[in-house]
Symmetry: C2
Subunit: 199 residues, 2 copies
Amino acid sequence: KNRRVCHATARLEMGSLWEEFNRLGTEMIVTKAGRRMFPTFQVKLSGLDPLADYVLLMDFVPLDDKRYRWGHGNEDAGAAQADQQPPGRQRPRERPAPGWVMEGHTMHSCMGSPAHLSSPCPPQIILNSMHRYQPRFHVVFVDPRQDSERFAHQNFKSFSFPETQFMAVTAYQNHRITQLKIASNPFAKGFRDGDPEPW
Amino acid sequence: KNRRVCHATARLEMGSLWEEFNRLGTEMIVTKAGRRMFPTFQVKLSGLDPLADYVLLMDFVPLDDKRYRWGHGNEDAGAAQADQQPPGRQRPRERPAPGWVMEGHTMHSCMGSPAHLSSPCPPQIILNSMHRYQPRFHVVFVDPRQDSERFAHQNFKSFSFPETQFMAVTAYQNHRITQLKIASNPFAKGFRDGDPEPW
DNA sequence: CCCTTTTCACCTAGGTGGTAAGAT
DNA sequence: ATCTTACCACCTAGGTGAAAAGGG
């Protein structure tokens, strides 16, 4: 690994909220026009060279080739079934794929401040409903050398936080997820009843 | 000039609206917390090398060292007076000054689409009220050579549109400017009477 | 039956000039 | 007298899940 990335670290923000969702089995709504994810995927970066240029990327790794069903009106667990989707088409890639370029910032203004990757995500990322995904974050050093492509494999570092995995859905399956979204997402305030935990 | 910038051109967007304001004497509200400018300063860029990296900057050049007064309740013209402000402190600089880094975009995603420089501008740019300014736009080629600083003077190209000059104010002086702002700025719709020209 | 799409009321978030009070 | 500040009603812009309708 290049020394410009080997000391890079990324700390997940809102970790306790992510874990609370993960215990219930996080679900993310996907729509044709694009939908934000909540909780927001945010990391705090450190260990970068302030004088170097970086590109930050994000992608979503399919956790399996299975399609999930919600069962016979049962709210407890979803049974995974084999899927007829062409295999290997959305396999995890070890190299950071050009997924989602972050909002600008030359690096020195990004360091230390949370790098939030919500924002408009129109048809940039396509996820299949009823499939599970693992978000992944990549820090890529922009190598100034002319033959930089030969070193591409050592110029990046990737981060994966298991508590951020989720199932893409078009409508919520687990009502507990719905309730936790309503309780914790400011934009869903209109659906709150009393005043439960103020996240 | 470096060949990466010498063919660069910038075309001002909303030119006719800028000119209509300029005929009346454009005024821009400034506040402590920061205020957007309207019309928005937008340019369409062309003539850039898709494979090169650029940084886009903006700054505001004081048009003179004078302080303006509005006269004895007269709405017609403002008389310029000599100002006791330390001269030369905000002189025009020929080199692009680190003024206002644009919203991200590596260049290939910015080319062709308007590069709008409104957005939150908190205390990043400080302008003195009752002074006139000329906005300026800079395209800077990010030179990958190690001794790039030696070529800094040839790696940028600047653009200045006279119709975008304005006077910074804390409250509007010319009522015609107020009316044109209300008529053309969507956020001021609440102050419109009938339905004049739909800008 | 299960999943998807569309539309909607209800929010957050923030950009307007007006207005009145304050500062110099 | 002239300029500045703080607050406000009224907008734009867009992110929520609910509900109903549509599709296979």
